[in-house]
């Protein structure tokens, strides 16, 4: 059984969807951030796979930058999280709705 590009794309999509589910259902901010990591990672698989099947390095480059971006986001995200936690002693996003309408 040959594993083709489509297999990887489907896998990537499934993972992406799991990420989406996480994004939508998580109320704990930390775990919500985990879900966004999943999103970015799932795409990386596709990039690597396309890169492999096309024999082109660009995909790997993209994945590389995505990893860098993900890492930076973690830094900022955690910073915000800590800030929020310091003030409110929770990281529940339901507590975060003072602005509305």
């Amino acid at each position: 059984m040959e594993i083709g590009l489509n297999h990887y794309l489907v896998l990537s999509t499934i993972l992406f969807s799991i990420g989406l589910i996480g994004v939508m259902r998580r109320k704990n901010l930390l775990m919500l951030f985990f879900a966004t990591e999943i999103l970015l990672n799932s795409v990386n698989i596709s990039f690597a796979a396309i890169s492999h099947y096309n024999g082109d390095l660009t995909g790997q480059m993209f994945a590389f930058f995505v990893i860098a971006i993900a890492a930076s986001e973690v830094a900022v995200g955690l910073g915000l999280l800590i800030l929020w936690h310091k003030r409110h002693n929770n990281i529940d996003l339901d507590s975060m709705s003072t602005m509305r309408g």
Binding site: I50, M61, I69, E73, L80, G101
Partner: protein, 502 residues
């Protein structure tokens, strides 16, 4: 073994990097100054930033001249793309930033402006946006975008109060999701074309005659979602009012202009060729998005009780309006986009600055938000000039001639008409009427109501300083006399947009 690569320095066109490098170097400079001599007054950083942006502006003028002579230039392994769009949008980005930065010198001290990091991050952000617009490489767009966004999240949070944290977290989280969408979208395009440069993508897709239209569309969907977030297109707009409310008024005004023009340029690069190639689905979807964004945002703005939130929704609506340019896709429409945005910058920054000068540290009793309508009641009696200027901005935003935004609106609607989007043109026009209601509401409060009891009359200008007033005066003059420079502006923009092939 790999062959060594020989590259001549000339072929790199390193000059293309100059405008972007200026703010980055400037940011580093500020960091270094802070490192050696901390506890400096904010005015130092404000002026320093202004100077750096000034230099940036000069570089931009330089590259504009080069563009008029040589046309589009690729640089540094063809990653940099300095075309008319890049230059125009950078003008807007840098110009708006220059208008914004003096707002830091407010009467009262606010957290963010007291720290040099703010200015460093601010300059980094500008650098990020400049990179984002000056390339057609999705990687660089992505990285530039994230650089800017991360800095922006921090800038918002640095206002340092609960609402701003909340705003930053919301913006950040949704931004992360949008980043996921962006990378997914890029992946689809990459899978289809083996390239992540928009020109290449366009060429390959055209060569293939859009065989895999479903795949293209999926890519487009994710890109739209991602840029929809940045441009606050309904239903990806939900962050906008909260973030605007949470951040300082000055910052909110800034956010309504600069990130969006950057996103518009990328959206233009990305979607224009698709529109041109006649993908009806994209037209329909953009049509729907444009109409929904304009109309719904207007409708939501109607029911707001806080001026800043109202302006937030109004900004969303304006973004939707301008989004129509991408749908229409003619040279006139794209020129209209830039024209509109330049005029919008003046007016919107002006109106947010008016909010900024009325900012109090502690909310008086009976007010639940910083800039509730009530606060402005009877302003014409206590501060007639301020009230008149505010009214001027509101009328301009409503699209009343001969103030700045009218010309943008007119040109945009004209471009819709010219491209046979008559119904769209009508919708765009009538939306101005809906919008007029909430702008008028503020005017009504200011001019036709009695001041609230117990207000000392000084509320509306409590945060004013000379530098703030200068900026507002500048914006006001720009708003009133826009028609005088319109011809020059239009010629300039059209030449640049046309020269870049859009």
């Amino acid at each position: 073994m790999l062959e060594p690569v020989n590259i001549s320095l000339e072929s790199l066109n390193l000059m293309t990097l100059a405008p972007m490098l200026v703010p980055i170097v400037g940011a580093l400079l500020i960091l270094i100054i802070d490192f050696f001599k901390s506890e400096q007054d904010r005015s130092l950083y404000v002026m320093l930033s202004l100077l750096i942006l000034g230099i940036d502006f000069i570089f931009l003028i330089e590259s504009a001249e080069i563009f008029t002579e040589n046309g589009t230039i690729m640089g540094v392994f063809d990653v940099m793309l300095i075309d008319g769009l890049a230059i125009l949008s950078q003008f807007i980005i840098v110009g708006a930033s220059m208008l914004f930065i003096p707002l830091a010198l407010s009467q009262k001290r606010f957290h963010e402006f007291s720290y040099p990091e703010f200015f460093a991050l601010f300059l980094f952000m500008i650098g990020g946006f400049q990179f984002m617009v000056a390339t057609d490489n999705l990687i660089l767009i992505f990285v530039g975008l994230e650089t800017a966004s991360l800095a922006l999240y921090t800038l918002i949070a640095m206002h340092n109060r609960d609402k701003s944290f909340e705003a930053a977290v919301k913006y950040f989280t949704m931004g992360a999701l949008a980043a996921g969408f962006f990378s997914f979208g890029s992946m689809v395009f990459y899978a289809l074309t083996g390239s992540i440069e928009i020109n290449q993508i366009a060429q390959v897709l055209q060569a293939n005659n859009y065989e895999n239209i479903e795949f293209v569309l999926i890519g487009v969907v994710f890109m739209l979602a991602s840029f929809g977030f940045k441009l606050s297109i309904v239903p990806f707009h939900t962050w906008a009012p909260d973030v605007y409310e949470g951040s300082s008024a000055a910052m909110a005004g800034y956010m309504s202009i600069v990130p969006k023009i950057a996103a518009f340029v990328v959206a233009m690069r990305l979607f224009e060729f698709l529109i041109q190639s006649g993908i009806i689905w994209l037209e329909v979807i953009l049509y729907a998005l444009v109409v929904i964004t304009m109309t719904m945002a207007n409708i939501w703005a109607l029911v707001q009780t806080d001026v800043k939130r109202m302006l937030a929704y109004s900004s969303i609506s304006h973004a939707g309006f301008v989004m129509a340019a991408i749908l229409i896709g003619t040279t006139q429409a794209n020129s209209a986009l830039f024209l509109y945005w330049i005029l919008f910058s003046f007016t919107n920054l002006g109106s947010f600055s008016m909010l900024w000068i009325s900012r109090q540290k502690n909310l008086p009793a009976g007010q639940s938000s910083d800039h509730s309508y009530n606060k402005f009641a009877g302003m014409v009696k206590t501060a007639p000039i301020a009230a008149s200027i505010m009214a001027l901005f509101m009328l301009s935003l409503a699209g009343l001639p001969p103030f700045a935004l009218f010309w943008g609106k007119m040109y945009m609607i004209s471009s819709a008409v010219t491209a046979d989007f008559i119904v769209l043109a009508l919708i765009m026009a009538l939306n101005s009427a809906i919008a007029a209601y909430y702008y008028l509401k503020l005017i009504v409060y200011m001019f036709m109501k009695e001041p609230m009891k117990g207000s000392d009359g000084n509320v509306s200008v409590t945060n004013a300083t000379l530098s703030l007033k200068t900026i507002i005066g500048f914006a006001a003059v720009g708003t009133i006399f826009a028609f005088l420079i319109l011809n020059t502006l239009l010629e300039f923009i059209t030449a640049f947009v046309y020269g870049s092939g859009y």
